[in-house]
Symmetry: D2
Subunit: 276 residues, 4 copies
């Protein structure tokens, strides 16, 4: 498995260039970023060189299409999707991810119909570029009642939804925080087929009842109670060998990016111990 | 448009054969029935002859697959679907319908995902036999809260769902009772494209606020307050020229089938006046 | 039905603005054009005003995506498709068309697999904007052997392919020249369902055996041997009420656009006589 | 990987029961059979017991639907598919396979359109039972010109077709004979994702130019020139751990089933040496 980073939990990041060199310096081989921003920032050639020179790959891009509100907004986002997909492909990245909020102010059933149609179309566009789409289920309990109607938050419901979407290239983004807050075990991961694991996030949780954990109050890997080593072992046993990206959603830190990268590295060293 | 009957509202029906001759006698040209039962009852050759001799066609068959509960039950129903479709095709019927309950005890979003997948598969199987699938939205207000979670009951939500299902051969079954209880107008029908109107039911409603009307308390056409003539005129203007089948869900009547057919005919004569 | 024009057969056209005013002057209510070019030419607001002021609508846009060669070229074209679809929608146009060459240098079966996947994706993207995709079968005999392997050229094969593509919004573009060169009759049109007729082209053919007619040697409506009046009557009887656009592929003419419009009008007057 | 058998190459097989006990006796853990025949032969309970008692599983069932000729024949076969799928599921088998003839008397492009639609429907029905569909490309050169028009025979074209079919549960059946006659290498197998390998056949080939090898003239594993050990090693490295079933298509043998099983075992012992 490959050590990766998202921007969440790294404080102020001056540029993608700085992020790449910082990642390399602290032993990370992948970062998640916005490919269109990156190319706009430094041009395609330099972007490729930066990644190559530092031995860093792009782990995944975000699905930058709003599939959760109106058809108008969905169509608006659709316009840049083929270009973003091509940019990702050109930079050697073949994963795109989006998260599923566990509740919604829309009526749940019609929203599920619209979301299915929209995500299917995004998956098909991404598929033309060889890119897989990972859907992240979100376990945090407070979000299940944050909006008027429950939507979905379990892995099994997400897998079932993926069957309905029906595209070859759709699977899960599995985040250790949502695995933990959903009260899941390593056995739940072991039953997965590799084709259904698109991407992986890690971060840690405070102690206490899982129903009280807040989505935006996460800890750095190794600083909390989640069995991250077991989590990664199970994913590896299930056949996953791709990027595991840190995503620490929390209050802004006063530490510098380098200090935070050192802290992240320490957690990864423990979680990845003895894994291939 | 073609005058049709379902079995609902005709009291005790001795046999499909009697239903066919009764329909013909009272000026109806179509009946909805179960094609496998019919063929089992009298054999394919006699079944065809009965219809031909009386000038009666089959308007639509019911989707005899339980797509509303478990995967097990869904799969169980699937087994007879190709055979039922072939039977319908052999008897010259190319429509199959099912109704959508406006609420469900299942969590709404996962149920929508499962229902979408199941109905898509049914539609695709039916499509191999040239058969279209009509989805009937159900407006009755008391059913919207009959089960724990709201599902859907409006025509627009149903059309949107049909887009998601994405099959060429799926459209609406429009029932005058649900048009009325949803507070719809003829303009709502005029905007429909003909490809989206698979089948039509008529029956009438008692006076009073639509929110109080019970689904199982319907009246014979012409005996209530629904503007059935306007309803049919609008459907015809929208390009529909198929079967309009009476479906009177109500308490059992003490009248004979022939008496009820005469009553139905009287209502149809008014509703169909001056229509082609 | 609505009288329409493509750019083919009108000589040198100074601008879309001139085309619109010329169309209006000679009694045409629709033109086919490239919506992105049009908006680039004069801005969205002026584009709308030009159409509104002259009472001219856009009949259809071309599918500006190369689905016939490599995946690379297909992906290249995909990038502008959502924007073109949005432009068409903004200008009130909900049709997009492409033609099918009857032979190909690619191996036929793998090419059909690729073409199916590509056109399905285009159709789904267009569908997000409410736009239908019309596939034009091409009857011209010399094109059936122009490239190494036969592909398809009949209406029935195209309809069957549309079933496979499986999208709700795909149908036919029917061109009178291909109807004629395929040796088709009005009965072939009468059996069509309206949902399957997306767009219509007219133009005329020289006398002589249909197997000798060249694709780029067409005549103006009314100047050849095709029974255009019967063609249009049959399409109307089949439920089509949309745009019928002239497309005269032939040698460049020395006549001016206005002279050619007058000539086109004369042909339309005969072909449209007594049609609604 | 699991040692398996098909019926091809075992001479006269008295019954599935005898086949199961013979397989177990000679160290095979899987057989391919027709689940409906098997259940009809001995009933569901006894069928399960036979498999359980001998430690033998069903490797794969054949797709018993004719998707290669007319719609009528396709529909005819469709009728038993849900029941066959349920039987397979009940017996613990979740694979179904069919082969692709490399040429066809049908026009290639329309046939590809029809075949895509038919196999998609079969895949979706099988998917409701959790069953995957494996498509077997057939390399034998003489079959490429056996019928009027070339269809497809390479792994890459088959993978591309699978993308078009677009179902989550469709992949390859890889047969060592077709790997050999297509001139493929172990590298071609190493690039496969596990989700795309549904089932594997082995058998051996005579020496000589691959273009001369006849499809019905195969040898027992280990008796010919194919590097079966390398073939299996590469599949294992690509993530495949399922059944590898012998399928020896050849002239009837005068040997008994037990003698042929002993011969097969000898070949498997060599091919499987040092594999897990």
């Amino acid at each position: 498995m490959i050590r990766g980073l998202t921007r969440a939990g790294l404080g102020t990041i001056e540029s993608n260039e700085r992020l790449i060199s910082g990642a390399a310096q602290f032993g990370f081989q992948a970062i998640d970023l916005n490919p269109l921003h990156f190319i706009r920032e430094c041009g395609m050639e330099k972007a490729k060189d930066l990644l190559d020179n530092k031995g860093v790959m792009i782990g995944s891009i975000d699905l930058d299409v709003d599939w959760r509100s109106s058809e108008e907004r969905f169509r608006e986002g659709l316009k840049a999707l083929p270009e973003a997909a091509e940019a990702a492909m050109s930079l050697g990245c073949f994963k795109c991810c989006t998260y599923i909020l566990p509740s919604t102010d829309e009526p749940a059933a019609p929203f599920m119909a619209a979301a299915t149609r929209r995500l299917k179309l995004c998956a098909d566009i991404l598929g033309a570029y060889g890119i897989r789409l990972g859907l992240e289920f979100v376990g945090s309990w407070h979000l299940r009642t944050q909006w008027a109607n429950p939507f979905l938050w379990t892995m099994d419901d997400t897998l079932d939804w993926i069957e309905t979407i029906g595209a070859h290239n759709v699977g899960l983004l599995i985040d250790s925080y949502h695995w933990h807050t959903n009260g899941m075990t390593t056995d739940d991961l072991l039953k997965l087929k590799p084709a259904y694991i698109v991407h992986v996030h890690i971060n840690d949780a405070k102690a206490g009842p899982i129903e009280n954990l807040l989505d935006g109050d996460r800890l750095y890997p190794g600083e909390g109670v989640i069995n991250l080593h077991g989590f990664l072992q199970a994913l590896q046993a299930a056949g996953y060998s791709g990027v595991v990206a840190q995503e620490v959603l929390g209050s802004p830190s006063s530490l510098s990016m380098d200090e935070l990268l050192a802290r992240s590295k320490a957690g990864f060293d423990i979680a990845f111990a003895n894994l291939q």
